[in-house]
C-alpha cells in the first residue's frame, strides 16, 4: 500500500510488511493485479459479446484494435519510465511534432522510407531533449514534460497554424491501414511484437532489473554502481522513439496532420499504465499488466461504441475504471481490518 507520501508518515512505527515465508507461486499469481485485471477483461469480453451481435466478428475486433495499439506501444515505454520513478507527459506533443516534421518532409517530396526515418528521428530527438533536462540537469520530470509538451506542440502550431498537411503518398498509408496477414493489421502485429520486446527488456534483462532498482531507491542504486542518469536518459529516449513510431502509425492511419493531432493521448497512456498495475510512484509493475490494461480499455471503448455510447461517456467510464480498480482493493482491505 503506497500513498503520495511515505506510508510511514501517516502511520509512524509501521514499516513495510515483509512476510516471513513466501506464498506458493501459483497462489500469488492468482491473487495478482494482472489476474484481477484479466478477469475484468474476460468479463467485459463476455458482456460485450452478449450485448452486441457484431462484437465477435474477427474483422470488427481487428478494427477495434486500432483504438488502443498506438497508445499501447507508448504505454510500454511509459511503464518502464514510471517504474523508474519518472513520467513523460509530452508523448502526445511528440506525436504532433513528429507528424508535423513528416508533413513538412512530405511537402518537400520525401519518399516513404525518408518519412519513416524523419518520424523516428523526431521522436528520438524529443526524447533526448527530455532525457537531457531530467537526467542531465536533474530537473523533475513531471514539470519538465509539462513544459516540453507546450514546447513540442507549440512548434507544431507555429509550423501549421490552423492549417493541415494532407496528401501523404499511398504507400505511406500501409503503416496505419495495411494488414500483414488476414485480420492482423500492421499496428496489431507491431503491438504484439512490442509487447514481447518490452516484456523481455523489463523482465529478462539486467537493464530491466536496474529500472526497478532505480524506481525503488535511486540513491541505493547509485551506490550499487547503477548508472542511474544514463538509464533514465535511455528510458526517455525509448519513450520518445515509441512516440515517433506511434506518430507514423497515426499519421498514416488519418492520412493528415493537424497540430491538434493526438490531443489528450498522454492521459490515456498514463491511465493505461496505471490501470495495468504500475505504481505511479515507481518501483513496481509489469508489461503483461499493461498489455491486459490496453485490451481492457480497447474492449470497453469498442463495446460501448457498438452500443452507440458517445465518446465522452466512454471517457467517464475510463476515468471511473482508473479510480475504481485502484480504490476497490483498498476499500476492501479497509473494510476487513
Amino acid at each position: 500500500m503506497t500513498s503520495t507520501v511515505d506510508p510511514m508518515a501517516t502511520a509512524p512505527g509501521r514499516g513495510r510488511n515483509i512476510p516471513d515465508r513466501l506464498v506458493p507461486g501459483w497462489k500469488r499469481a492468482l491473487k495478482s493485479w494482472e489476474a484481477l485485471l484479466f478477469a475484468v477483461a474476460v468479463a467485459i469480453f463476455i458482456a460485450n459479446s452478449l450485448a452486441s451481435p457484431y462484437f465477435l466478428d474477427p474483422w470488427n475486433l481487428s478494427d477495434a484494435s486500432f483504438n488502443f495499439t498506438e497508445k499501447a506501444i507508448i504505454a510500454f515505454a511509459m511503464a518502464m519510465l514510471i517504474i523508474a520513478g519518472e513520467i513523460d507527459l509530452s508523448v502526445a506533443a511528440i506525436i504532433a511534432l513528429a507528424s508535423t516534421a513528416m508533413g513538412l518532409a512530405m511537402s518537400a517530396g520525401a519518399s516513404v522510407p525518408v518519412l519513416v526515418l524523419i518520424g523516428l528521428a523526431t521522436g528520438l530527438i524529443c526524447g533526448a531533449f527530455n532525457g537531457f533536462l531530467v537526467a542531465g540537469l536533474g530537473l523533475p520530470s513531471i514539470v519538465v514534460t509539462i513544459g516540453t509538451m507546450s514546447l513540442f506542440r507549440g512548434i507544431a502550431y507555429i509550423v501549421l497554424g490552423d492549417g493541415a498537411f494532407t496528401g501523404y503518398p499511398d504507400a505511406f498509408g500501409w503503416f496505419g491501414q495495411g494488414y500483414v496477414w488476414w485480420v492482423f493489421s500492421f499496428e496489431l502485429v507491431l503491438f504484439m511484437v512490442m509487447a514481447v520486446v518490452f516484456g523481455l527488456l523489463l523482465h529478462a534483462t539486467n537493464f530491466g532489473r536496474r529500472v526497478y532498482v532505480i524506481g525503488n531507491n535511486a540513491t541505493a542504486a547509485r551506490f550499487s554502481g547503477v548508472r542511474v542518469d544514463r538509464i533514465r536518459f535511455i528510458l526517455f529516449l525509448l519513450t520518445g522513439l515509441m512516440s515517433g513510431i506511434a506518430a507514423i502509425c497515426l499519421t498514416s492511419r488519418l492520412g493528415s496532420t493537424r497540430p491538434s493531432i493526438a490531443t489528450g493521448f498522454e492521459l490515456e497512456v498514463v491511465t493505461m499504465v496505471v490501470l495495468g498495475g504500475v505504481n505511479i510512484l515507481g518501483g513496481s509493475g509489469s508489461i503483461p499488466g499493461v498489455v491486459i490494461a490496453a485490451l481492457v480499455m480497447g474492449l470497453v471503448t469498442f463495446g460501448l461504441g457498438l452500443l452507440n455510447v458517445p465518446g465522452i461517456v466512454m471517457s467517464i467510464i475510463i476515468g471511473a475504471l482508473l479510480i475504481g480498480v485502484i480504490a476497490l482493493p483498498r476499500l476492501w482491505k479497509m473494510a476487513r481490518t
Binding site: G85, E86, L133, I146, T148, L151, N217, I312, I323, I326
Partner: protein
C-alpha cells in the same frame, strides 16, 4: 532561505517588468493603465486557480481536475441561471459544488491513499463527462443568460470590474491563510517533511484534503466568473487550462515536490503568463507561437528554480527517503 525566496520573487518581478518594457517598445499603448487593468482582469481566473493549485502542490499533491471542476461548476451556474435562480444563490451553489468536487478528490487521496495524480487524472475526465451528461453536449449561449448573470463580474467598482476585486480579495485572504494561520503552516509542514509533520501532530491526509477542498472551491467560484464573463458554457470550456495553472505555479517558484512556494510567486507566475498571452498578438507575434513560448518559459523557470534550491545544499539521503516524481539532483 527567505533570502533566496525573496530574490526569486524579485527576479520574477524584474522579468515581468522586462517583458512589459519589451512590449512597450513595440507598442507603447500596451502599458497604459487602462490596458494593464484589462490584462489584470483577463488574468484573474488564472491567478485565482494558481493560488488553489499552489496549496495543493505545497502538500506534495497535484490537482489536474481543476479546469474540469471549473467547467462543471460554470455549466451548473449557467443551467441554474436558465432556471431563474438569483445570482447570490448561484454563487453559493457553485462554491459548494466546487468544494464538494475538491472534497471528493481529497477523500480519495486522504482515506484511500491513492496518489493525487491518479485521482485527479480520473476525476478530470469524470467531471467533464458529467457536463456532457447534464447537457447532452448542448451549449449555453449569451442570449440564454440573463443580463444580471452576465453583468455581475463586469460591474465596475472603483475602476476595476468585480472579477478583479474578487481576485484581489482572494489574494489577500491567501496572504493571511498561508502565512498567519495554523492551516497555512500545515501546508508547508506536510510538504516539507511529512514525517516531522506527523510528529508535531499535523495529519498529512487531512491537510491534503483541506488543500483539495480549497482548490475545488476556487475552481467553482471561477467557473461562474468564467462562464458569465465569456457568456458561453459548453463541455470544453477551459480545456487544458489545468496545465496553464500548473505552469503559473512552476514559473512562480512553487516547488513541484512540495513544501516551498509563496502567494506572491504564484500571483506573479500567473501574471507573467497572462501578460504574455495578451502581449503576443499586440506585438505581431502569431498567437500560434504562444504555446511554444510558454513552454520555454516553463522550462527556464524550472531550471532556475532547481538551481536556487540546489544552493540550499540538500542532503542526498533525504531525497532517497522521499521518493516522489522528482528527479535526483
Amino acid at each position: 532561505m527567505t533570502g533566496i525566496l525573496k530574490s526569486r520573487e524579485a527576479i520574477l518581478a524584474l522579468a515581468i517588468l522586462a517583458l512589459l518594457a519589451l512590449v512597450a517598445m513595440r507598442f507603447p499603448a500596451f502599458i497604459l493603465p487602462g490596458n494593464l487593468a484589462n490584462v489584470l482582469t483577463d488574468t484573474s481566473p488564472l491567478i485565482i486557480l494558481a493560488l488553489g493549485q499552489m496549496v495543493v502542490i505545497l502538500t506534495k499533491c497535484i490537482d489536474l481536475s481543476i479546469a474540469a471542476s471549473l467547467a462543471l461548476c460554470g455549466m451548473v451556474a449557467g443551467l441554474l441561471n436558465m432556471a431563474g435562480v438569483p445570482i447570490a444563490v448561484i454563487l453559493l451553489a457553485v462554491i459548494v459544488l466546487g468544494a464538494l468536487l475538491g472534497a471528493f478528490n481529497g477523500l480519495l487521496v486522504w482515506k484511500l491513499g491513492i496518489p493525487s495524480i491518479v485521482v485527479t487524472l480520473g476525476t478530470m475526465t469524470i467531471y467533464r463527462g458529467i457536463i456532457f451528461l447534464l447537457t447532452a453536449g448542448k451549449w449555453i449561449n449569451a442570449h440564454q443568460m440573463s443580463p444580471e448573470f452576465k453583468a455581475f463580474p463586469r460591474a465596475m467598482i472603483l475602476g476595476f470590474p468585480v472579477m478583479t476585486w474578487i481576485m484581489i480579495a482572494i489574494v489577500a485572504i491567501f496572504a493571511v491563510l498561508i502565512y498567519r494561520t495554523p492551516l497555512g503552516r500545515a501546508f508547508f509542514a506536510v510538504g516539507g517533511n511529512p514525517h516531522a509533520a506527523v510528529y508535531t501532530g499535523i495529519s498529512v491526509g487531512r491537510t491534503q484534503f483541506a488543500a483539495f477542498v480549497i482548490s475545488g472551491t476556487l475552481a467553482g467560484l471561477t467557473g461562474y466568473l468564467w462562464v458569465a464573463r465569456y457568456a458561453v458554457a459548453y463541455v470544453d470550456i477551459a480545456g487544458g487550462f489545468e496545465l496553464d495553472v500548473v505552469a503559473a505555479c512552476v514559473i512562480g517558484g512553487v516547488a513541484i515536490a512540495g513544501g516551498a512556494g509563496s502567494v506572491a510567486g504564484a500571483v506573479m507566475g500567473a501574471l507573467f503568463l497572462g501578460i504574455m498571452k495578451n502581449a503576443l498578438p499586440v506585438v505581431g507575434i502569431s498567437p500560434f507561437a504562444q504555446m511554444a513560448i510558454s513552454g520555454i518559459a516553463i522550462l527556464v523557470a524550472i531550471a532556475f528554480n532547481a538551481r536556487s534550491s540546489r544552493q540550499k545544499g540538500r542532503i542526498i539521503l533525504k531525497q532517497a527517503e522521499h521518493r516522489t516524481v522528482e528527479g535526483t539532483a
